[in-house]
């Protein structure tokens, strides 16, 4: 049955008022007829005509009322019927579409699979985006949470957009704010955790002001959180545990509350366990203990910035109000402490969520963009497929048009087809997305921030369904409009002449291929640039040799050894013991490992030089401590002088080694050996520079090296830095595999109660440092691959179609003496021309979009010729491959057969 039968003349185009008027006229006519008959009947009974008429009118009663009642009935019926018709029509269209797919299973399968691929990919990426960037954090009113930072403008001699806070700054802010409901300071650290019956473990820990949980609005799952008394000076130590820690280490024992644990060697009472969804500031942190802002501490000064803080806006307050308030604080500070604040150093706020996800956000946005491009390509591809099928159904469609099927119904029919295909693809895509999501999670370095929110929730589902509908509608639009334009006369003309192609639709298909090529070029170019960037990242001179080095951290808290000298002595023994392991080349320790931290940035002064005054750039470098074996263990390069040795003891003259950046920046390259420097917290301890080492990438592969000053751990020249947490580097001569137990044994031999943690190879650390780029690269390469495949399909389709249409012409050419290679070349040229136009267009688009991926491009220009060549080359190769088959087929055309069939 053809759907045209169902097309009732229901006058939807007729104006509603027109319809009402018509109905009313009918009712009136009916009633008029009634009156007339009654009048005549009464006349027949002998009444006078006037009398009879008035009697008839009297008997009828309220005529308008009857009209109204009848009209209402008609209207209700019309509404009911329309609704039913609409549903019936839609169902009929769907059934018709499904029947069509059975007739052309290849087309349907192709469309559904490509749509599933793209919708699946888009849905999986969106699942991540939704969980990481969109879902509310597991706190009430989490959008009101802000991280508090100090900002140093470059004029201060530092350039830190988001830096930690000093104690006095937090206290000032807490005292003056009216806009924030609460401001809580905290610090991130780690602690040795032990308890009866569990092995000592190093855990990431948060020390926070007691009000932290109140500011976050978080409730405990078990027991309580902090109360004000916990923050009083001298209060007994209490701790709140994470759900994960509680389950893994304490077997989810509810009796844990009110039990004591050892926290960095100190007895500490567990008062509460947080629920599983609670995360602060991110998933790694598993213990929270209270601390007090202590103005009597030696670090209580505006220059010392050890704290982080989180603040929550009052209900109804806005960020703009908070910023206005901070402007006030800023001018107050500038007036009170001109030395410190006049230059451009003040408090700023940043959304807490943004804070958590800032590392991941750029990668996710780039991926979302790429997957959007893939989706567009699929839309274009599907449009091409539907167009070619509409093409071969031209005759059928023209016949329908000739039989009086309205154009909009043809259009709707074709759109329904596309929509049904899109929904099938979407359904399959949602299933596929769970697999793809797993692949995305696996290729991510570590775990996503807020990863517990990554799931197929209602929003993701709605996104997928919406995308399916959009895919269907978009890809159906071009072919539907094209096909519905057929003229009925055409059908009759083309009767019995087989297929004739429509110039408009050929052009439309070529346009689609060009669009696909353009989109694919954008993706391939992006992937190529990422690949090149990744290459440059891997090639960066780190300033040390990461191969064959095992690293781990050991902490000796005051709870286990009160004297810092004892702790340092343990590290010395550990270094000796590690170096004695067979196969170990060198072992040493740093207070901060390169690629992970530059150490604390501290101001220093140089002997014999005037100290920088207020408003001048401070001399500032990362402060690190290291052991004699550290240089060789990590493979640092000594440029001048010497590194620390066994004679640099606490009793010997204090020595320091600086890096090249320090020398260049503060000594302008002058000879430095023998010069002395000091820190403001140890004004009488002069430290002599004895060596210069090559710069290392301390804050990450992409961050340029920063000035650094190394001190000898044995001398620990500054009391503020006791050197209780050291990271060891152990360089092995051969393979690292199987060496871990030896290292553990060595540590246990020195002190069995010492947990070592963060055990990793330096190579792993380097890989992780470029992890975001690698992640983006992996996925984008995948997307580019999909895009190329689809483009190849598209080019193949158009060319195959063209060969089919032109077989007569080709046959004629061959008969007239054309060489077969000539035909081959002609067809190839056609495909390549489309690709080339697409490339040109894509390049234009890429130029417009280039800023989007700028954050990931490292060490190559955005117009990197190699990347462009790579992208173009791949695209051309894929398209050439796709052209080859139809072109070859064209050159094999048998002139006799084609001429006969088209004659």
């Amino acid at each position: 049955m053809s759907p045209s039968k169902g097309s009732r003349a229901r006058g939807e185009s007729v104006d509603e008022r027109e319809w009402v008027r018509k109905r009313r006229d009918e009712i009136r006519a009916e009633l008029e007829d009634h009156l007339e008959r009654r009048t005549r009947a009464l006349e027949a009974q002998g009444r006078s005509p006037a009398d009879a008429h008035s009697e008839a009118v009297r008997r009828m009663g309220d005529r308008e009322r009857i009209e109204y009642d009848c009209l209402r009935i008609a209207q209700q019926r019309r509404v009911r019927q329309r609704r039913q018709w609409l549903l019936e029509d839609a169902l009929r269209d769907v059934r018709f579409a499904l029947r069509g797919f059975r007739r052309r299973p290849g087309l349907a399968t192709g469309v559904v699979l490509t749509a599933a691929l793209a919708i699946g990919a888009a849905t999986s990426v969106f699942s991540v985006v939704n969980g990481v960037l969109l879902r509310p954090l597991p706190y009430p009113g989490s959008s009101q949470l802000y991280s508090v930072y100090t900002r140093y403008l470059p004029a201060t001699g530092y350039d830190f957009p988001y830096f930690s806070l000093s104690g006095p700054e937090i206290q000032d802010y807490q005292a003056m704010t009216r806009v924030m409901a609460g401001v809580a300071a905290y610090t991130l650290s780690s602690a040795n955790l032990a308890a009866d019956g569990i092995e000592p473990e190093r855990v990431a820990a948060v020390r926070a002001e007691w009000r932290l949980f109140d500011v976050l609005g978080a409730k405990p799952g078990l027991g309580r959180t902090f109360v004000e008394e916990d923050g009083a000076p001298g209060a007994p130590c209490v701790a709140v545990l994470s759900d994960g820690l509680w389950r893994e280490r304490f077997g989810a024992d509810t009796g844990i509350v009110h039990r004591d644990i050892r926290y960095d060697g100190q007895l500490c009472r567990v008062v509460g366990v947080m629920p599983a969804e609670f995360v602060f500031p991110d998933e790694r942190f598993r213990v929270w203990t209270p601390f007090v802002l202590d103005p009597s501490s030696p670090f209580w000064e505006r220059r010392s910035h050890p704290f982080a803080a989180v603040a929550k806006l009052r209900d109804g307050a806005t960020l703009a109000m908070a910023e206005a308030e901070l402007d006030g604080l800023r001018s107050q500070w500038s007036a009170e402490y001109p030395d410190h604040y006049a230059l451009g150093h003040f408090i700023v706020l940043r959304s807490f969520r943004l804070d958590l996800v800032e590392d991941t956000r750029p990668a996710l946005l780039v991926l979302l963009g790429s997957v959007g491009v893939v989706l567009l390509i699929v839309v274009v591809n599907v449009a091409g497929l539907i167009l070619s099928s509409a093409e071969s159904r031209r005759h059928e469609l023209a016949m329908r048009a000739a039989l009086g099927v309205e154009r909009w119904r043809l259009l709707r029919l074709l759109l329904t087809e596309a929509l049904v295909l899109g929904l099938f693809g979407g359904g399959l895509g949602i299933i596929a997305s769970t697999w793809m999501l797993r692949a995305i999670l696996a290729s991510y370095p570590g775990t996503f921030p807020l990863s517990s929110g990554i799931m197929l929730d209602g929003r993701v589902l709605a996104f997928a369904v919406g995308l399916s509908i959009l895919t269907g509608l978009l890809s159906g639009a071009v072919p539907a409009v094209q096909a519905s334009r057929v003229k009925s006369s055409e059908a009759l003309r083309s009767m019995g002449r087989g297929l004739t192609s429509h110039r408009g639709s050929v052009r439309a298909r070529q346009g689609l291929v060009v669009a696909q090529c353009a989109l694919a070029l954008v993706l391939s170019l992006g992937a190529a640039l990422l690949a090149r960037s990744y290459g440059s990242l891997r090639a960066v001179d780190l300033g040390f040799d990461p191969e064959g080095v095992l690293t781990f951290t050991v902490a000796i808290p005051p709870g286990s050894h009160a004297e810092p000298e004892t702790a340092r002595a343990i590290f010395e023994r550990l270094e000796e013991r590690l170096a004695a392991i067979p196969g170990v080349d060198a072992a040493g320790a740093f207070s901060d490992l390169p690629l992970q931290s530059a150490g604390a940035m501290d101001d220093f002064t140089i002997e014999g030089r005037p100290q920088p005054g207020p408003g001048q750039q401070m001399w500032n470098a990362g402060y690190q401590m290291a052991t004699p074996g550290a240089l060789r263990a990590l493979g640092l390069r000594l440029v001048e002088g010497r590194w620390f040795d066994e004679n640099d003891l606490a009793s010997a003259p204090l020595v320091a080694v600086i890096n090249q950046s320090t020398k260049r920046q503060y000594f302008r390259g002058e000879p430095v050996l023998g010069l002395r420097l000091r820190y403001s917290d140890e004004p009488i301890r002069w430290i002599t520079i004895v060596g210069v080492v090559a710069d290392t990438r301390s804050a990450g592969v992409q961050s340029p090296p920063a000035p650094a000053i190394y001190a000898a751990l044995a001398q620990a020249p500054r009391a503020a830095y006791e050197g209780r947490v050291m990271t060891f580097a152990v360089r092995f001569r051969d393979d690292l595999a199987g060496q871990v137990p030896l290292v553990r044994a060595a540590v246990a031999e020195v002190d069995p109660a010492l947990p070592l943690f963060g055990l990793r190879t330096m190579a792993t650390i380097r890989t992780e440092a470029v992890g975001q780029t690698r992640f983006a690269l992996t996925l984008m390469t995948g997307f580019a691959g999909i895009a190329l495949f689809l483009v190849a399909l598209g080019v193949y389709g158009v060319l195959a179609h063209s060969v089919h249409l032109r077989s007569g012409e080709i046959g004629l050419r061959l008969t007239l003496g054309a060489e077969r290679t000539e035909v081959l070349r002609m067809m190839l040229r056609q495909g390549m021309t489309l690709t080339a136009v697409g490339i040109a267009l894509g390049f234009t688009v890429a130029v417009v979009l280039r800023r989007a991926s700028a954050g990931f491009i490292f060490g190559v220009s955005l117009f990197d010729p190699a990347s462009l060549l790579l992208a173009m080359g791949t695209l051309l190769a894929a398209s050439c491959l796709a052209c080859a088959v139809p072109a070859f087929r064209a050159s094999r055309v048998d002139p006799v057969v084609t001429l006969r069939s088209s004659g």
């Binding site: 006519a29 009916e30 007829d33 007339e36 009828m60 309220d62 009848c70």
Partner: protein, 113 residues
């Protein structure tokens, strides 16, 4: 004869209209006339009841309307039963007859407390 309560009449009107059309097509006035002659002239079914009922039966598909010429060549609307309507007229007639007999018996019988 006392007037019948309107409720009693309304319940049977559909059946009576269907019955009126069993003999073939009729226009509205014809149905009214048939009702007055056959059932009871004093029932006085009003146009205000009849026409909405006709339109409703039409909307529900029991009867269908067609336009024809009246005797003096004016437009007139005729109603006839649809196949569904014919079926309903038959089944409802016998159902109503059975019911009416019971009602009459109830009215005739002496009521004992």
């Amino acid at each position: 004869m006392p007037r019948l309560h309107a409720n009693l009449l309304r319940g049977t009107l559909d059946l009576l209209i269907l019955r009126a059309l069993e003999g073939g097509r009729r226009h509205g006035y014809g149905i009214l006339e048939w009702l007055e002659h056959t059932v009871a002239p004093e029932l006085l079914i009003e146009e205000g009841t009849l026409y909405p009922a006709l339109h409703r039966l039409e909307a529900e598909g029991w009867i269908r309307a067609e336009w024809g010429a009246s005797e003096n060549n004016r437009k007139a609307k005729y109603y006839r039963l649809t196949p569904r309507g014919t079926k309903r007229a038959k089944s409802e007639s016998s159902a109503f007859r059975a019911y009416a007999e019971k009602v009459i018996r109830a009215l005739d019988e002496a009521v004992t407390p």
